[in-house]
């Protein structure tokens, strides 16, 4: 569709202008739905946690409180953005942008269904890892530019947590690459064809949990939200931010949550593939479900797990959090790299043929 548009535009415009317009339109058509999902994910979070704690959740704005995200956005945008007197103004503004931009840029390679993606590059997994590793600069610059010791300590705490869990995350992805034999996200999904038992979930079950737990830590969600710690340490790097500058940090966090859910579904849960492939009666029964539908279902379930965990677990202490990352998850992933190597050598199961 976009190729046709580009061909049409280059008929009467400069070539480069046609490319730029097409690229911008492609970016908007991916980013806009993501931002809408982010908005209503905050609503879903408050509703789900509300029901789990036997409350109503938001129910005032619009039917069932459905317009609450819009009210929240308006409130954030009309609030005054306060700059601390001794802060570094440029970096203070750039920090939230640096938090949000990579969380959005990573979507360039995420396939929503077969062939429905902005850019089908053959190092897709590496691109997502590389781009999401830039997010840590949002944290670290925000803490430094605020010129406050509390914000700075929070930034050190938060960025140390992020780069620690990135290692476990990377190793978990290495095992996926070993099975799939490709870094292209479309090929990784297509390698899981053939129903539930061909997904990478079963041979990589520990890695699935490692990836998801690391994802929780990367996005600062409970039980790893020492960055917020509203009850005991009252926020970290964004303690001096207000209004929309603070809102942008939250947008980035939720966009990353959705990204992690998408990556988990694509890597371990067969992406857009139906779980009933190859099963006599169930496969034709669910043949009407579009590919995007399956992916959306898996992603929504994982997002629900994010919210569920928040309503369930207390917060980790910081030293326990670091111990879990370095002394439990990373050794586990390294062991599993060898296990996958052995499974590959012995052509184990339907995954290694």
């Amino acid at each position: 569709m976009f190729d046709a548009l580009q061909a049409f535009l280059s008929g009467f415009l400069f070539d480069w202008l046609a490319i730029v317009i097409t690229l911008v339109l492609q970016a908007v058509s991916v980013v806009l739905p993501i931002m809408l999902v982010v908005a209503w994910l905050t609503y879903a979070e408050r509703k789900v946690i509300g029901f789990m704690q036997v409350r109503m959740g938001p129910n005032r704005v619009g039917p069932l409180g459905l317009l609450q995200p819009i009210a929240d956005a308006l409130k954030l945008m009309t609030k005054e953005v306060i700059f601390p007197a001794q802060s570094n103004k440029y970096l203070f503004i750039i920090a939230p942008v640096l938090a949000l931009a990579p969380a959005v840029a990573a979507w360039a390679v995420i396939p929503f269904s077969e062939g429905m993606l902005v850019s089908d590059i053959n190092a897709g997994v590496l691109y997502v890892l590389a781009v999401s590793s830039i997010i840590v600069y949002g944290t670290i610059i925000a803490g430094w530019a605020s010129n406050s010791k509390y914000a700075f300590l929070g930034a050190l705490r938060g960025s140390a947590q992020k780069i620690s869990y990135e290692i476990a995350m990377g190793f978990a992805l290495v095992t996926v690459l070993m099975i799939a034999g490709s870094m292209n996200l479309t090929e990784i999904v297509n390698g899981q064809k053939g129903g539930f038992f061909h997904w990478y979930l079963l041979p990589l079950l520990p890695m699935f949990f490692v990836y998801f737990i690391s994802g929780l830590a990367e996005t600062n969600r409970t039980p790893f939200d020492v960055i917020e710690g509203e009850a005991e340490i009252v926020a970290g790097f964004h303690v001096d931010y207000s209004g929309m500058t603070f809102g942008v940090f939250m947008l980035a966090e939720y966009a990353m949550m959705i990204l992690i859910s998408f990556m988990t579904s694509i890597m371990f849960l067969g992406g857009w593939l139906s779980p009933f492939e190859g099963i006599p009666f169930l496969e034709p029964m669910f043949a009407w479900v579009p590919q995007l539908g399956w992916l959306a279902f898996k992603v929504s379930f994982l997002l629900f797990v994010f919210l569920w965990l928040r309503a369930t677990f207390p917060r980790y202490r910081y030293d326990q959090l670091m111990r879990l990352g370095w002394k439990v998850l990373i050794p586990l992933t390294i062991v599993w790299v060898f296990v996958v190597g052995a499974m590959q050598y012995f052509s184990f199961g339907p995954w290694f043929n």
């Binding site: 070539d15 480069w16 490319i19 590496l126 590389a130 830039i134 840590v136 990377g170 870094m183």
Partner: protein, 213 residues
Amino acid sequence: MTFEQFIFYLLATIATVAGLMMISVKNPVKAALWLVLAFISTAGIWIMAQAEFLGLVLILVYVGAVMVLFLFVVMMLDINMAILKEGFTKYLPLGAMAAIAIFALMYMVLGPEHFGLEVTGNPVIQPADYSNTVALAVPLYTQHAYAFVLAAVLLLLGIVAAIALTLRRRSTTEVLYQDIDKQNKTLAVDRFRMVKMEAVVEKDIVTKEEDDK
């Protein structure tokens, strides 16, 4: 100018400006951040040169890990810039001479004489399914396998040495250590002791007042 050329010149300009800012800006934290920008734009240029693996790894390793640790250190140091900038004008001619000499050397080695288009020919434009990752991995794990393993062992040695240098165990009178295994294995029974006590009945207020008198 094609779109690729436009992107190339954009990234090259950003990289050059970021490099210049890195060495001229006063604040060391800002210098580190300019270096990060230089890394990112260089990675972009590498990706345009069809070396997508190297470009992405540059971002992943240097931007995502090394520079973050670097920033940690620079941010926590209390650097007095006045002392660092002392004698700048005095050493400027010497520094300029050294810079020119190094540039001349680099030009002689890397200049058009050895790497010009007449020598190397036009770069080969690879098809879309060409994987730079595979092209790098195959010689790395076959031809250069021993060198690769040797480099890995060296890095491991570095890790072990760094840990061995910083690892110290102080006496428990100085520092309190936590036994995490013991903490994890704790049961509610161990923490909570039910005690049966005789009920203590307080005297009622009237008699209390009488006692005070």
